[in-house]
Symmetry: C2
Subunit: 172 residues, 2 copies
């Protein structure tokens, strides 16, 4: 169980836009330079991010990428799900769903764990928005991350739900 560098890169790259764009498009070349990520690798990532409606592209000179929505409406979970394969696949066993000799049948215990774990992870990552990360000005956001609880996968439109109360996640 491992978080891929692809996922980390994507979060960093999108965060880069959130921080360095003042409304105008940010070219990948700039992100590549700042973050030390190969330009062509970035291109590959941003195609998925664009299709996933996280960023929009602007072609031509002075082009680049802009956020598709405001930072507070883009969650980390959303980005990660676009880039990485899903954590949870089948009930008990993996992928092809072949070996289904689960003696407990439909109520398989083992399967329930992985499903709940996946939901747990998604819920956590969905609770963090780009805006939360972009605000360097608040140090307490960095350590002891201040997040909004139980925000489940923001509806792709423009959900300005500023209603949830902040919650403190303890760090070790």
């Amino acid at each position: 169980m491992q978080i891929s560098t692809k996922g980390k890169y994507s979060v960093r790259a999108v965060l880069d836009i959130a921080q360095y764009s003042n409304g105008s498009p940010v070219p990948l070349a700039a992100i590549s330079k700042r973050e030390g990520i190969s330009l062509q690798f970035l291109e590959q990532l941003f195609q998925q991010l664009r299709k996933g409606n996280v960023v929009n592209s602007v072609r031509g000179p002075h082009g680049g990428y802009v956020l598709a929505r405001e930072p507070s409406a883009i969650t980390i979970g959303e980005i990660v799900r676009l880039i990485e394969p899903p954590l949870y696949t089948s009930s008990c066993f993996s992928n092809d769903g072949a070996v289904e000799n689960c003696r407990i049948g439909e109520t398989c215990i083992g399967g329930a764990i992985w499903k709940q774990l996946a939901e747990h992870v998604d819920s956590f990552l969905d609770s963090i928005t780009l805006a939360d990360l972009a605000n360097k000005s608040k140090p307490e956001v960095v350590y002891g991350l201040r997040i909004k609880s139980n925000r489940i996968l923001a509806d792709r439109g423009n959900g300005n739900d500023e209603t949830a109360e902040p919650e403190k996640i303890q760090v070790a």
Copy 2:
């Protein structure tokens, strides 16, 4: 981000012992038959589980494996960590720790997320014990898993900490 079948197999196999052993050792051949896992693959997994003090081995005829501790003192997280590489590696970037051009320096925001995510996952998996899973008799344990909150990596000895209050994790 993916949970490997190795990890799933391990949990199933150890759970098998918890369910089918009445104190006497359970041979891998029996687990192999019941769970549909190759004997030689099981051997590979159980070597790590033994070194990690999850199971003990008994050699010779009527030998096999027994749990190293009582089921309530063995967590799923413990098993998974023995088999799988850790979720969290370095602060910002991965593995070799090479690319450390993190513009935010020590208080790197991106890094904090993955660290907290890893702690989140570990905490969740550590909150589930073999005993929780073995009790098929309680159906509510399977769906809407009843777990103990915030149990951090039971000390390898025999920690009979039955003090934590149960908590309901919502499913979907």
